[in-house]
Protein backbone atom coordinates (compact mmCIF):
# COMPACT_ATOMS: atom_id res chain seq x y z
CA UNK A 1 0.00 0.00 0.00
CA UNK A 2 2.69 2.48 1.04
CA UNK A 3 4.90 1.63 -1.92
CA UNK A 4 2.12 2.17 -4.43
CA UNK A 5 1.20 5.56 -3.06
CA UNK A 6 4.87 6.51 -2.89
CA UNK A 7 5.30 5.68 -6.55
CA UNK A 8 2.07 7.44 -7.32
CA UNK A 9 3.20 10.57 -5.54
CA UNK A 10 6.61 10.37 -7.18
CA UNK A 11 5.16 10.10 -10.67
CA UNK A 12 2.77 12.95 -10.02
CA UNK A 13 5.60 15.10 -8.77
CA UNK A 14 7.73 14.28 -11.78
CA UNK A 15 4.84 15.04 -14.10
CA UNK A 16 4.28 18.35 -12.40
CA UNK A 17 7.96 19.18 -12.60
CA UNK A 18 7.94 18.37 -16.32
CA UNK A 19 5.05 20.74 -16.92
CA UNK A 20 6.23 23.56 -14.66
CA UNK A 21 8.85 25.17 -16.91
CA UNK A 22 6.27 25.65 -19.67
CA UNK A 23 4.18 28.10 -17.70
CA UNK A 24 5.25 30.71 -15.22
CA UNK A 25 3.91 29.91 -11.78
CA UNK A 26 1.09 32.12 -10.68
CA UNK A 27 3.38 33.98 -8.31
CA UNK A 28 5.87 34.63 -11.11
CA UNK A 29 3.42 36.01 -13.67
CA UNK A 30 3.56 39.68 -12.59
CA UNK A 31 7.36 39.76 -12.60
CA UNK A 32 7.51 37.92 -15.92
CA UNK A 33 4.92 40.30 -17.35
CA UNK A 34 6.94 43.31 -16.24
CA UNK A 35 10.06 41.93 -17.87
CA UNK A 36 8.07 41.08 -20.98
CA UNK A 37 6.70 44.62 -21.40
CA UNK A 38 10.12 46.13 -20.76
CA UNK A 39 11.70 43.88 -23.39
CA UNK A 40 9.07 44.88 -25.97
CA UNK A 41 9.68 48.54 -25.22
CA UNK A 42 13.43 48.03 -25.55
CA UNK A 43 12.91 46.44 -28.95
CA UNK A 44 10.74 49.35 -30.10
CA UNK A 45 13.24 51.93 -28.90
CA UNK A 46 16.06 50.06 -30.63
CA UNK A 47 14.12 50.03 -33.90
CA UNK A 48 13.33 53.74 -33.63
CA UNK A 49 16.96 54.58 -32.90
CA UNK A 50 18.23 52.59 -35.88
CA UNK A 51 18.77 55.31 -38.45
CA UNK A 52 19.91 52.81 -41.04
CA UNK A 53 16.40 51.46 -41.52
CA UNK A 54 14.20 52.70 -44.34
CA UNK A 55 10.77 53.94 -43.32
CA UNK A 56 9.09 50.83 -44.72
CA UNK A 57 11.50 48.52 -42.92
CA UNK A 58 11.02 50.39 -39.69
CA UNK A 59 7.24 50.21 -39.91
CA UNK A 60 7.39 46.52 -40.79
CA UNK A 61 9.69 45.75 -37.84
CA UNK A 62 7.46 47.75 -35.50
CA UNK A 63 4.49 45.77 -36.79
CA UNK A 64 6.32 42.54 -35.97
CA UNK A 65 6.95 43.65 -32.39
CA UNK A 66 3.36 44.74 -32.08
CA UNK A 67 1.95 41.43 -33.32
CA UNK A 68 4.35 39.49 -31.10
CA UNK A 69 3.39 41.49 -28.03
CA UNK A 70 -0.37 41.89 -28.36
CA UNK A 71 -3.04 39.21 -28.47
CA UNK A 72 -4.73 40.71 -31.50
CA UNK A 73 -7.04 37.74 -31.91
CA UNK A 74 -8.53 37.98 -28.41
CA UNK A 75 -8.75 41.76 -28.62
CA UNK A 76 -10.47 41.49 -32.00
CA UNK A 77 -13.13 39.22 -30.53
CA UNK A 78 -13.56 41.37 -27.44
CA UNK A 79 -14.10 44.64 -29.28
CA UNK A 80 -16.80 43.00 -31.40
CA UNK A 81 -18.77 42.56 -28.20
CA UNK A 82 -22.22 41.06 -28.36
CA UNK A 83 -22.42 41.63 -32.12
CA UNK A 84 -19.98 38.80 -32.72
CA UNK A 85 -22.24 36.25 -31.15
CA UNK A 86 -24.19 35.13 -34.21
CA UNK A 87 -21.63 35.79 -36.90
CA UNK A 88 -20.90 32.95 -39.34
CA UNK A 89 -17.33 31.76 -39.14
CA UNK A 90 -16.27 33.02 -42.58
CA UNK A 91 -17.44 36.56 -41.82
CA UNK A 92 -15.79 36.39 -38.42
CA UNK A 93 -12.48 35.26 -39.86
CA UNK A 94 -12.58 37.94 -42.54
CA UNK A 95 -13.21 40.50 -39.82
CA UNK A 96 -10.34 39.22 -37.65
CA UNK A 97 -7.94 39.34 -40.58
CA UNK A 98 -8.96 42.90 -41.42
CA UNK A 99 -8.86 43.88 -37.76
CA UNK A 100 -5.28 42.69 -37.52
CA UNK A 101 -4.25 44.89 -40.46
CA UNK A 102 -6.25 47.79 -39.01
CA UNK A 103 -4.54 47.73 -35.63
CA UNK A 104 -1.12 47.40 -37.19
CA UNK A 105 -1.87 50.38 -39.43
CA UNK A 106 -3.18 52.53 -36.58
CA UNK A 107 -1.34 51.53 -33.44
CA UNK A 108 1.94 50.10 -34.67
CA UNK A 109 2.41 53.05 -36.99
CA UNK A 110 1.93 55.34 -34.00
CA UNK A 111 5.10 53.94 -32.45
CA UNK A 112 6.90 55.51 -35.38
CA UNK A 113 6.01 58.98 -34.14
CA UNK A 114 7.28 58.34 -30.63
CA UNK A 115 10.27 60.55 -30.15
CA UNK A 116 11.11 59.81 -26.54
CA UNK A 117 13.60 57.34 -25.20
CA UNK A 118 12.54 56.76 -21.66
CA UNK A 119 10.50 53.72 -20.79
CA UNK A 120 10.59 52.16 -17.37
CA UNK A 121 8.42 49.59 -15.66
CA UNK A 122 7.59 50.87 -12.18
CA UNK A 123 5.57 48.02 -10.71
CA UNK A 124 3.50 44.93 -11.40
CA UNK A 125 0.35 43.69 -9.71
CA UNK A 126 -1.40 40.35 -10.24
CA UNK A 127 -4.60 40.25 -12.28
CA UNK A 128 -6.10 36.86 -11.55
CA UNK A 129 -3.94 33.72 -11.55
CA UNK A 130 -2.95 34.09 -15.20
CA UNK A 131 -2.47 37.81 -15.59
CA UNK A 132 -0.87 40.99 -14.38
CA UNK A 133 -1.09 44.75 -14.63
CA UNK A 134 2.24 46.29 -15.50
CA UNK A 135 2.69 49.97 -14.64
CA UNK A 136 5.18 52.00 -16.62
CA UNK A 137 6.36 55.55 -17.10
CA UNK A 138 6.98 56.86 -20.58
CA UNK A 139 9.14 59.96 -20.79
CA UNK A 140 8.52 62.62 -23.36
CA UNK A 141 10.91 65.44 -24.12
CA UNK A 142 9.96 68.58 -22.23
CA UNK A 143 6.88 67.11 -20.61
CA UNK A 144 5.79 65.20 -17.56
CA UNK A 145 6.17 61.44 -17.99
CA UNK A 146 2.90 59.61 -18.68
CA UNK A 147 1.84 56.61 -16.68
CA UNK A 148 0.75 53.75 -18.91
CA UNK A 149 -0.77 50.52 -17.62
CA UNK A 150 -0.45 47.27 -19.59
CA UNK A 151 -2.75 44.35 -19.00
CA UNK A 152 -0.88 41.11 -19.65
CA UNK A 153 -2.34 37.62 -19.91
CA UNK A 154 -0.63 34.26 -19.97
CA UNK A 155 -2.21 32.44 -22.88
CA UNK A 156 -0.96 28.92 -23.59
CA UNK A 157 2.36 29.58 -21.87
CA UNK A 158 2.99 32.76 -23.86
CA UNK A 159 2.60 36.23 -22.42
CA UNK A 160 0.52 38.69 -24.40
CA UNK A 161 -0.72 42.22 -23.86
CA UNK A 162 -4.49 42.46 -23.94
CA UNK A 163 -5.10 46.11 -23.04
CA UNK A 164 -3.40 49.46 -22.56
CA UNK A 165 -4.74 52.06 -20.14
CA UNK A 166 -3.69 55.70 -19.97
CA UNK A 167 -5.28 58.12 -17.46
CA UNK A 168 -8.18 55.78 -16.92
CA UNK A 169 -8.87 55.30 -20.63
CA UNK A 170 -8.74 51.70 -21.83
CA UNK A 171 -7.79 51.02 -25.43
CA UNK A 172 -10.06 48.03 -25.87
CA UNK A 173 -13.04 49.59 -24.11
CA UNK A 174 -12.75 52.62 -26.39
CA UNK A 175 -12.39 50.47 -29.48
CA UNK A 176 -15.36 48.35 -28.46
CA UNK A 177 -17.50 51.47 -27.98
CA UNK A 178 -16.58 52.70 -31.41
CA UNK A 179 -17.35 49.36 -33.08
CA UNK A 180 -20.63 49.09 -31.15
CA UNK A 181 -21.65 52.45 -32.56
CA UNK A 182 -20.68 51.50 -36.11
CA UNK A 183 -22.52 48.17 -35.84
CA UNK A 184 -25.55 49.80 -34.29
CA UNK A 185 -25.76 52.19 -37.23
CA UNK A 186 -25.22 49.41 -39.77
CA UNK A 187 -27.83 46.89 -38.72
CA UNK A 188 -25.37 44.87 -36.70
CA UNK A 189 -23.60 43.74 -39.85
CA UNK A 190 -20.07 42.54 -39.12
CA UNK A 191 -19.24 42.30 -42.87
CA UNK A 192 -20.19 45.97 -43.16
CA UNK A 193 -17.85 46.81 -40.30
CA UNK A 194 -15.13 44.81 -42.02
CA UNK A 195 -15.66 46.82 -45.22
CA UNK A 196 -15.49 50.12 -43.33
CA UNK A 197 -12.26 49.02 -41.68
CA UNK A 198 -10.80 48.09 -45.07
CA UNK A 199 -11.76 51.52 -46.43
CA UNK A 200 -10.06 53.18 -43.50
CA UNK A 201 -6.91 51.09 -44.00
CA UNK A 202 -6.78 52.16 -47.66
CA UNK A 203 -7.25 55.76 -46.65
CA UNK A 204 -4.46 55.59 -44.09
CA UNK A 205 -2.09 53.84 -46.47
CA UNK A 206 -2.63 56.54 -49.08
CA UNK A 207 -1.71 59.28 -46.65
CA UNK A 208 1.30 57.39 -45.36
CA UNK A 209 2.62 57.07 -48.85
CA UNK A 210 2.23 60.75 -49.72
Amino acid sequence: MQRRSFLGTLSLTLAAAALAPMRARAADVPKAAGAFVQSLADRVIAILKNKALSKDDRVSQLADVFLAGFDVHAIGLFVLGRFGRDVPEAARDAYLQTFKTYVVETYAVRFNTYAGEQFSVTKETPDGPEGAWVFSNIGQPGQEPIEVQWRVRQIESALKIVDVVVEGVSLIVTQRSEFASILQHNGGSVPKLTTLLRDKIEELKKVDKS
Binding site: F78, V165, G168, V169, V173, T174, E178, G188
Partner: protein, 278 residues
Protein backbone atom coordinates in the same frame (compact mmCIF):
# COMPACT_ATOMS: atom_id res chain seq x y z
CA UNK B 1 -15.08 97.90 -9.61
CA UNK B 2 -17.02 96.99 -12.71
CA UNK B 3 -20.06 94.78 -12.63
CA UNK B 4 -20.56 94.89 -16.36
CA UNK B 5 -19.37 91.29 -16.32
CA UNK B 6 -22.64 90.25 -14.73
CA UNK B 7 -23.94 90.29 -18.29
CA UNK B 8 -21.47 87.49 -19.09
CA UNK B 9 -22.91 85.50 -16.25
CA UNK B 10 -26.47 86.08 -17.32
CA UNK B 11 -25.48 84.98 -20.80
CA UNK B 12 -23.82 81.83 -19.48
CA UNK B 13 -26.88 81.00 -17.43
CA UNK B 14 -29.22 81.65 -20.35
CA UNK B 15 -27.13 79.50 -22.67
CA UNK B 16 -26.95 76.60 -20.25
CA UNK B 17 -30.66 76.77 -19.54
CA UNK B 18 -31.40 76.81 -23.27
CA UNK B 19 -29.19 73.83 -23.89
CA UNK B 20 -30.64 71.80 -21.05
CA UNK B 21 -34.22 72.70 -21.90
CA UNK B 22 -33.89 72.10 -25.60
CA UNK B 23 -32.16 68.80 -24.89
CA UNK B 24 -35.40 67.67 -23.38
CA UNK B 25 -37.49 68.84 -26.31
CA UNK B 26 -35.33 68.25 -29.36
CA UNK B 27 -35.87 65.07 -31.33
CA UNK B 28 -34.30 62.11 -29.61
CA UNK B 29 -32.95 59.11 -31.44
CA UNK B 30 -35.49 56.30 -31.82
CA UNK B 31 -34.34 53.24 -29.90
CA UNK B 32 -33.50 50.44 -32.35
CA UNK B 33 -35.49 47.21 -32.37
CA UNK B 34 -32.72 44.68 -32.88
CA UNK B 35 -31.75 43.35 -29.42
CA UNK B 36 -28.00 43.74 -29.96
CA UNK B 37 -28.42 47.26 -31.31
CA UNK B 38 -30.84 48.10 -28.52
CA UNK B 39 -28.39 46.95 -25.88
CA UNK B 40 -25.65 49.01 -27.54
CA UNK B 41 -28.01 51.99 -27.66
CA UNK B 42 -28.70 51.70 -23.94
CA UNK B 43 -25.03 51.32 -23.11
CA UNK B 44 -24.17 54.39 -25.15
CA UNK B 45 -26.61 56.47 -23.06
CA UNK B 46 -26.84 59.01 -25.85
CA UNK B 47 -30.53 59.54 -26.66
CA UNK B 48 -29.73 62.87 -28.27
CA UNK B 49 -27.21 61.35 -30.63
CA UNK B 50 -28.51 62.92 -33.88
CA UNK B 51 -28.42 66.42 -32.40
CA UNK B 52 -25.12 65.77 -30.69
CA UNK B 53 -23.56 64.60 -33.94
CA UNK B 54 -24.72 67.76 -35.72
CA UNK B 55 -23.26 69.97 -33.01
CA UNK B 56 -20.10 67.88 -33.17
CA UNK B 57 -19.72 68.54 -36.89
CA UNK B 58 -20.16 72.24 -36.24
CA UNK B 59 -17.56 72.10 -33.48
CA UNK B 60 -15.11 70.35 -35.79
CA UNK B 61 -15.65 73.01 -38.43
CA UNK B 62 -14.93 75.77 -35.92
CA UNK B 63 -11.93 73.82 -34.69
CA UNK B 64 -10.50 73.46 -38.18
CA UNK B 65 -11.14 77.08 -39.05
CA UNK B 66 -10.21 78.90 -35.86
CA UNK B 67 -9.21 76.95 -32.77
CA UNK B 68 -6.65 74.54 -34.20
CA UNK B 69 -4.73 77.22 -36.13
CA UNK B 70 -4.69 79.35 -32.99
CA UNK B 71 -3.45 76.38 -30.94
CA UNK B 72 -0.74 75.68 -33.53
CA UNK B 73 0.40 79.29 -33.45
CA UNK B 74 0.38 79.13 -29.66
CA UNK B 75 2.43 75.94 -29.88
CA UNK B 76 5.05 77.73 -31.94
CA UNK B 77 5.82 80.39 -29.36
CA UNK B 78 8.85 79.65 -27.17
CA UNK B 79 8.17 76.90 -24.63
CA UNK B 80 9.09 79.04 -21.61
CA UNK B 81 6.65 81.75 -22.61
CA UNK B 82 3.94 79.22 -23.28
CA UNK B 83 4.44 77.56 -19.88
CA UNK B 84 4.26 80.94 -18.17
CA UNK B 85 1.03 81.78 -19.93
CA UNK B 86 -0.39 78.36 -19.06
CA UNK B 87 0.64 78.75 -15.42
CA UNK B 88 -1.01 82.15 -15.20
CA UNK B 89 -4.28 80.76 -16.54
CA UNK B 90 -4.12 77.89 -14.06
CA UNK B 91 -3.27 80.20 -11.19
CA UNK B 92 -6.28 82.36 -12.00
CA UNK B 93 -8.51 79.34 -11.42
CA UNK B 94 -7.32 78.96 -7.83
CA UNK B 95 -10.31 80.64 -6.16
CA UNK B 96 -12.73 78.34 -8.00
CA UNK B 97 -10.60 75.29 -7.15
CA UNK B 98 -10.41 76.36 -3.52
CA UNK B 99 -14.19 76.75 -3.27
CA UNK B 100 -14.80 73.34 -4.87
CA UNK B 101 -12.32 71.52 -2.64
CA UNK B 102 -13.97 73.04 0.42
CA UNK B 103 -17.38 71.93 -0.85
CA UNK B 104 -15.99 68.44 -1.41
CA UNK B 105 -14.66 68.37 2.13
CA UNK B 106 -11.07 68.10 0.92
CA UNK B 107 -9.56 70.63 3.25
CA UNK B 108 -6.05 69.37 2.51
CA UNK B 109 -6.36 70.14 -1.21
CA UNK B 110 -8.10 73.42 -0.43
CA UNK B 111 -5.20 74.45 1.81
CA UNK B 112 -2.66 73.43 -0.85
CA UNK B 113 -4.49 75.45 -3.48
CA UNK B 114 -4.56 78.43 -1.15
CA UNK B 115 -0.83 78.24 -0.49
CA UNK B 116 -0.04 77.66 -4.18
CA UNK B 117 -2.08 80.71 -5.16
CA UNK B 118 -0.33 83.11 -2.83
CA UNK B 119 3.11 81.65 -3.35
CA UNK B 120 2.84 81.67 -7.15
CA UNK B 121 1.15 85.05 -7.36
CA UNK B 122 3.75 86.78 -5.20
CA UNK B 123 6.98 84.84 -5.75
CA UNK B 124 5.92 83.57 -9.16
CA UNK B 125 5.15 86.95 -10.75
CA UNK B 126 1.40 86.73 -10.85
CA UNK B 127 1.41 83.01 -11.46
CA UNK B 128 3.80 83.07 -14.41
CA UNK B 129 6.12 80.68 -12.61
CA UNK B 130 4.95 77.62 -10.76
CA UNK B 131 7.37 78.06 -7.86
CA UNK B 132 4.98 76.24 -5.56
CA UNK B 133 5.00 73.22 -7.85
CA UNK B 134 8.77 73.16 -7.73
CA UNK B 135 8.71 72.97 -3.95
CA UNK B 136 6.51 69.88 -4.14
CA UNK B 137 3.01 71.33 -4.10
CA UNK B 138 1.44 70.00 -7.29
CA UNK B 139 -1.61 71.56 -8.88
CA UNK B 140 -4.80 69.68 -8.09
CA UNK B 141 -7.58 70.15 -10.56
CA UNK B 142 -11.31 69.91 -9.96
CA UNK B 143 -14.61 71.51 -10.93
CA UNK B 144 -18.18 71.77 -9.74
CA UNK B 145 -19.16 68.74 -11.82
CA UNK B 146 -16.78 66.67 -9.70
CA UNK B 147 -18.17 68.32 -6.56
CA UNK B 148 -21.66 67.26 -7.60
CA UNK B 149 -20.39 63.73 -8.23
CA UNK B 150 -18.86 63.66 -4.75
CA UNK B 151 -22.18 64.85 -3.35
CA UNK B 152 -23.89 61.83 -4.86
CA UNK B 153 -24.70 62.75 -8.45
CA UNK B 154 -22.62 59.81 -9.63
CA UNK B 155 -24.48 59.41 -12.92
CA UNK B 156 -23.76 62.52 -14.94
CA UNK B 157 -26.66 61.82 -17.26
CA UNK B 158 -26.91 61.32 -21.01
CA UNK B 159 -24.10 62.44 -23.29
CA UNK B 160 -24.29 66.07 -24.35
CA UNK B 161 -22.16 67.63 -27.06
CA UNK B 162 -22.06 71.31 -26.17
CA UNK B 163 -21.42 73.96 -28.81
CA UNK B 164 -17.77 75.03 -28.45
CA UNK B 165 -17.34 73.47 -25.03
CA UNK B 166 -17.46 69.95 -26.40
CA UNK B 167 -18.34 66.67 -24.65
CA UNK B 168 -20.35 66.97 -21.46
CA UNK B 169 -23.49 65.82 -19.69
CA UNK B 170 -26.26 67.59 -17.72
CA UNK B 171 -24.41 67.40 -14.39
CA UNK B 172 -21.14 68.73 -15.82
CA UNK B 173 -22.93 71.45 -17.79
CA UNK B 174 -24.43 72.70 -14.54
CA UNK B 175 -20.89 72.45 -13.16
CA UNK B 176 -19.57 74.73 -15.91
CA UNK B 177 -22.16 77.38 -15.17
CA UNK B 178 -21.70 77.25 -11.41
CA UNK B 179 -17.93 77.50 -11.72
CA UNK B 180 -18.43 80.57 -13.87
CA UNK B 181 -20.50 82.15 -11.09
CA UNK B 182 -18.03 81.10 -8.42
CA UNK B 183 -15.15 82.82 -10.14
CA UNK B 184 -14.40 86.09 -8.33
CA UNK B 185 -12.07 87.32 -11.05
CA UNK B 186 -15.03 87.58 -13.39
CA UNK B 187 -16.58 90.18 -11.12
CA UNK B 188 -13.68 92.52 -11.83
CA UNK B 189 -13.43 92.06 -15.58
CA UNK B 190 -15.47 93.28 -18.51
CA UNK B 191 -17.53 90.97 -20.70
CA UNK B 192 -14.92 91.16 -23.40
CA UNK B 193 -12.16 90.22 -20.99
CA UNK B 194 -14.23 87.28 -19.74
CA UNK B 195 -14.71 85.96 -23.26
CA UNK B 196 -11.07 86.59 -24.02
CA UNK B 197 -10.00 84.59 -20.99
CA UNK B 198 -12.32 81.70 -21.89
CA UNK B 199 -10.95 81.70 -25.42
CA UNK B 200 -7.40 81.70 -24.10
CA UNK B 201 -8.18 78.74 -21.86
CA UNK B 202 -9.74 76.95 -24.82
CA UNK B 203 -6.68 77.48 -27.01
CA UNK B 204 -4.36 76.49 -24.15
CA UNK B 205 -6.27 73.23 -23.66
CA UNK B 206 -6.43 72.60 -27.40
CA UNK B 207 -2.67 72.97 -27.72
CA UNK B 208 -2.12 70.25 -25.14
CA UNK B 209 -3.93 67.66 -27.26
CA UNK B 210 -2.86 68.88 -30.70
CA UNK B 211 -1.09 65.74 -31.85
CA UNK B 212 -3.19 63.13 -30.11
CA UNK B 213 -6.63 64.46 -31.05
CA UNK B 214 -5.69 64.70 -34.72
CA UNK B 215 -4.28 61.18 -34.60
CA UNK B 216 -7.52 59.81 -33.16
CA UNK B 217 -9.56 61.67 -35.75
CA UNK B 218 -7.39 60.36 -38.54
CA UNK B 219 -7.61 56.73 -37.53
CA UNK B 220 -11.23 56.59 -36.34
CA UNK B 221 -14.02 55.26 -38.47
CA UNK B 222 -16.54 56.82 -36.07
CA UNK B 223 -14.71 59.75 -34.47
CA UNK B 224 -17.83 60.89 -32.61
CA UNK B 225 -18.27 57.53 -30.87
CA UNK B 226 -14.55 57.23 -30.10
CA UNK B 227 -14.47 60.67 -28.51
CA UNK B 228 -17.62 59.93 -26.53
CA UNK B 229 -16.01 56.83 -25.05
CA UNK B 230 -12.67 58.56 -24.38
CA UNK B 231 -14.41 61.47 -22.68
CA UNK B 232 -16.54 59.24 -20.46
CA UNK B 233 -13.65 57.06 -19.29
CA UNK B 234 -11.40 60.03 -18.66
CA UNK B 235 -14.15 61.84 -16.76
CA UNK B 236 -14.79 58.80 -14.57
CA UNK B 237 -11.06 58.66 -13.86
CA UNK B 238 -11.04 62.37 -12.88
CA UNK B 239 -13.91 61.80 -10.49
CA UNK B 240 -12.61 58.56 -8.98
CA UNK B 241 -8.95 59.47 -8.73
CA UNK B 242 -7.67 58.73 -5.29
CA UNK B 243 -10.84 56.99 -4.17
CA UNK B 244 -9.89 53.64 -2.62
CA UNK B 245 -11.87 50.72 -3.95
CA UNK B 246 -12.69 52.35 -7.26
CA UNK B 247 -10.47 49.85 -9.01
CA UNK B 248 -13.11 48.22 -11.20
CA UNK B 249 -11.53 45.44 -13.23
CA UNK B 250 -12.11 45.61 -16.96
CA UNK B 251 -14.15 42.79 -18.53
CA UNK B 252 -12.06 39.65 -18.88
CA UNK B 253 -10.93 38.57 -22.31
CA UNK B 254 -9.28 35.21 -21.94
CA UNK B 255 -9.21 32.83 -24.87
CA UNK B 256 -10.90 29.97 -23.07
CA UNK B 257 -14.04 31.73 -22.02
CA UNK B 258 -16.46 32.91 -24.68
CA UNK B 259 -15.44 36.47 -25.49
CA UNK B 260 -19.06 37.46 -25.43
CA UNK B 261 -19.46 35.82 -22.03
CA UNK B 262 -21.41 37.46 -19.23
CA UNK B 263 -21.72 40.99 -20.57
CA UNK B 264 -23.33 42.93 -17.74
CA UNK B 265 -26.03 45.36 -18.89
CA UNK B 266 -24.44 48.40 -17.30
CA UNK B 267 -25.02 52.02 -18.20
CA UNK B 268 -22.45 53.48 -20.54
CA UNK B 269 -20.73 55.48 -17.88
CA UNK B 270 -20.09 52.29 -15.99
CA UNK B 271 -19.21 50.23 -19.06
CA UNK B 272 -16.84 52.88 -20.30
CA UNK B 273 -15.45 53.50 -16.86
CA UNK B 274 -14.24 49.92 -16.36
CA UNK B 275 -10.56 50.62 -16.14
CA UNK B 276 -8.25 50.37 -13.17
CA UNK B 277 -7.65 53.44 -11.11
CA UNK B 278 -4.03 54.27 -10.47
Amino acid sequence: MSFRSSSARRLALALAATILASSALVGCATPPKDPNALAAYKEADDPLEPTNRTIFSANLAVDDAVVKPAAQAYHDIPEGLRHSFHNMLENARSPVLFANFVMQGRMDYAAETFVRFFYNTIAGFGGAFDVAGQTGLPMRDTDFGITLAKWGVTDGGPYLMLPLFGPSNPRDTVGLVVDNFLDPIGYFTTFGEDVGRMAAEGVDKREQVLGSLDEIRRTSVDFYATLRSLYRQHRADEINKGVPGSNVPAPSISEDEPPLGPMPAQSASAADASAPAK
